[in-house]
Amino acid sequence: MCLAVPGKIISIEPNGTGKVDYMGTTVVANLSLLPEAKVGDWVIVHAGFAISRLDRQEARRTLRLFKQLEKLNSSD
């Protein structure tokens, strides 16, 4: 089961784990598969491991695409 919602890293421990915040709920995730992860990053966590960093620029780019499509639709 994949969890779609990203969590935010709020602290990184010396043992390679980090605390990840999900809108108030904190879980501990192993960050070993994401050596570049830092506090403040949003990450996807699966089976206890952070597997990918969320690129907020790309998320905003997708939202801009939605806006463009809206305009295209209204000009039909």
């Binding site: 919602v5 990203p6 996807i44 990918s52 998320a59 997708t62 939605f66």
Partner: protein, 379 residues
């Protein structure tokens, strides 16, 4: 910006009515010149769930897109004989701890399920949420043998690889793995080669792709000429993926589009891929429904054999015997039938009393259909 943006705020638009309507209209515009409806397979079980939960499935059907569920549920595609082998062990040997994900315990077999099994004295079955939890059990219980029975795709396999390597470096001798570890691209190829199901394109999994990257599906476009798109798990993500697939069909230019760029890159997670390659080797694994597929499973390499539960406990796998109940999960996994076409569905097989794994797992097409489809469709 005066304050920090939360993920909820950023992602609200991925679920909003306006975005959904906009994308459906855009898909409709692309599909119109084709003058036919399309059949698109969503490979991943979490996508199946989004499609049902958000009510997109009937809306897409009206738009001319029929969604077909694929094999993307690891619990579902793990054959009964894995469960039967571990049930045999835990019922006959003392001081065995089987640690597994929750839905794995409910899969019914000819020998019952791990949930209904009565373990031998001193043995037990524990539900864990991660392979590391199983490893922790092994550290805390040096007098028991802890076996992590884990099913998963590329999303989960790196976590398991890390855990086994960690156990090796700690010299943790009472920990081992019964892995049911499956690879998505060979399964997609097997579905295409069988030619049993007609598909116009694919929505590729989101988080499997976070590990293996966009590059992993290029053969589908190049060798089979079929379009596809990687999509995230919000309703708008899936529609964005479908818009790309329909556009590729209309333009006659099949490719692998990445519509989940906020999470997925071209090459995926290199560190995770390296770790998988270091610990595991591919072999011809047998999938429920799909049968044996070349290089579609992973097993521990020779140098890690002391962590291989199959070797360590000489587990016997008895393949080939059909499930007695007449469950058609295998055909559901191949996209050949809808869950409602199974004569057991919602009659003798339901979430409280599943007769097959597709009704057990939260990613199983039957459970999802049961939970979210209208009562009128249930027989």
């Amino acid at each position: 910006m005066t304050r920090r943006e939360t993920s909820a705020e950023l992602f609200e638009r991925f679920r909003s009515n306006l975005t959904i309507r906009t994308l459906l209209k855009a898909i409709q515009r692309e599909i119109k010149p084709l003058n036919r409806s399309l059949r698109i397979m969503e490979v991943c079980g979490t996508h199946t769930m989004t499609l049902h939960r958000s009510g997109l499935k009937p809306l897409l059907r009206e738009t001319g897109v029929e969604m077909v569920s694929g094999p993307g549920c690891p619990v579902c595609i793990t054959p009964d004989f894995y469960h039967e082998a571990i049930i045999d062990l835990v019922t006959s040997r003392r001081n065995i701890v089987v640690a597994t994900f929750g839905d794995m315990t409910r899969v019914p077999t000819r020998k019952g399920s791990l949930q209904t099994t009565v373990p031998a004295a001193g043995s037990e079955i524990k539900i864990v949420y991660s392979p590391e939890e199983a490893q922790e059990l092994a550290r805390n219980r040096p007098d028991s043998e802890v076996i992590f029975f884990g099913a998963g795709f590329e999303t989960t396999i790196p976590a398991i690889a890390f855990t086994v390597r960690q156990a090796a470096s700690e010299g943790l001798k009472n920990f081992s793995l019964l892995g049911a570890l499956w690879l998505i691209p060979p399964a997609i190829e097997a579905i295409l080669q069988s030619g049993e199901v007609t598909i116009d394109g694919f929505i590729y999994p989101g988080h499997v792709s976070a590990i293996i990257g966009q590059q992993a599906y290029e053969f589908v476009a190049e060798k089979y000429g079929l379009p596809g798109a990687i999509a995230g798990f919000e309703p708008a993500d899936i529609l964005l993926g479908l818009l790309s697939v329909v556009r590729q069909i209309r333009q006659g230019q099949p490719t692998v589009a990445n519509e989940y760029r906020r999470v997925v890159t071209f090459n995926g997670n290199q560190k995770a891929r390296q770790l998988m390659a270091e610990m595991f080797e591919p072999f011809e694994a047998t999938w429920r429904g799909l049968g044996p597929i070349k290089n579609s499973g992973l097993r521990l390499k020779k140098e890690w054999q002391s962590f291989e539960a199959r070797e360590k406990f000489r587990l016997r796998f008895e393949a080939g015997r059909p499930h007695p109940a007449g469950c058609r999960c295998g055909e559901v996994l191949k996209g050949l039938i809808d869950p409602v076409e199974c004569p057991l569905f919602a009659r003798s097989c339901h979430p409280d009393h599943p007769l097959g794994p597709c009704m057990v797992s939260y990613e199983g097409a039957c459970l999802i259909e049961y939970k979210y489809s209208s009562g009128a469709k249930r027989k």
